[in-house]
């Protein structure tokens, strides 16, 4: 009987618990998801720097290729952003 009461009591906090955990999850998703694209884009930019220093006449092409690659690798970060949005606004 006491166990049942405890479970019922816990159930009352359930929606708030879920909401809090969803917000926590959104923060973790965004924080961890931003690591990968950040490192990746940094590597791309540093390699583009090296390439431009070695061959300044190809700077224009290197810049456009770098921006394209960065925009593509940014997608994984955007996926985690979408997951964070889903957790924030879709989970109630």
């Amino acid at each position: 009987m006491k166990l049942l009461m405890t479970i019922l009591e816990a159930a009352q906090f359930n929606s708030e618990f879920i909401r809090g955990m969803a917000c926590l999850g959104a923060g973790i998703a965004m924080g961890l998801g931003a690591i990968g694209p950040g490192i990746g884009e940094g590597i791309a930019a540093s390699k583009a720097c090296e390439g431009t220093a070695r061959q300044p006449e190809a700077a224009k092409q290197i810049r456009s290729i770098m921006l394209l690659g960065q925009a593509v690798s940014e997608t994984t970060g955007l996926y985690s952003l979408l997951i964070a949005f889903l957790l924030m606004f879709a989970v109630r």
Partner: protein, 234 residues
């Protein structure tokens, strides 16, 4: 029953992104029709001036871009890609004009990306024939069939979500700044608009077009898409 739904009621029920997409598309269509009428009067021997120079540059650039990526089949693709690029660019920068960007809605971006997906499959069918196209799913060994199918289905999903996420994140950050700072947002909002609307919108348009080209080039037979040969020809 259907008669009870007046046009204003229908217009009230649709989401703001779709609403602004309808308005922007109509304005763009009217502008393009006017430009088209002016282009018809213009003879090839005349000296180009005004908007005609811009249009010539745009067509030339898109032709070059298609030619350098997919080779000799560029002629049918370049008009489509120019249309998509113009529409996407105007959609992306429409935040500057006070609209809610239509590409911040998942339905608009998926309309674009599913069109691209159909185009990619059609190019694969047309260039290789049905048998070879189906056989390419069993490449290199039949065990790879599920992976090939997944990599094809990932095309529209990744294209649509990339565009949607980029524009939506810009929109969210802009509205956060406007909400938090109130009237003082005037101080920093121009720079943010410059980055999130103009720069990000342009880059995303470029990425969408380049990825469309790359996916189509992946479906074409290898001898057609020799990058260095195409660069020398053009």
């Amino acid at each position: 029953m259907m008669m009870a739904l007046s046009i204003s009621q229908i217009f009230r029920n649709i989401s703001p992104s779709i609403k602004s997409s309808i308005i922007i598309t109509f304005i763009l269509a009217i502008i393009l029709i006017i430009i088209g009428i002016r282009l018809r009067k213009y003879k090839p021997t005349d000296e180009p001036k005004g908007i005609i120079i811009v249009i010539e540059w745009l067509v030339e650039t898109m032709n070059e871009m298609c030619k350098s990526t997919i080779g000799k089949r560029y002629k049918k693709l370049a008009p489509y890609l120019t249309t998509i690029a113009l529409l996407l660019f105007v959609y992306n920068i429409s935040g500057l004009l006070g609209f809610r960007p239509p590409t911040a809605s998942v339905s608009v971006t998926f309309a674009f990306s599913i069109t691209t997906f159909i185009l990619v499959e059609v190019y694969g069918l047309k260039s290789q024939g049905l048998g070879k196209h189906l056989k390419s799913y069993l490449d290199p060994i039949p065990l790879f069939l599920p992976m090939n199918i997944i990599s094809d289905i990932a095309i529209p999903i990744s294209l649509g979500l990339r565009l949607f996420g980029n524009i939506l994140s810009g929109l969210v950050i802009m509205s956060l700044v406007y909400t938090v700072l109130g009237w003082a947002a005037v101080a920093i909002s121009p720079i943010l608009h410059l980055y999130f609307d103009l720069f990000s919108g342009f880059i995303q348009t470029l990425v969408f077009c380049m990825l469309t080209l790359v996916f189509i080039a992946g479906k074409l037979p290898d001898e057609e898409v020799d990058y260095f040969d195409n660069m020398e020809e053009s």
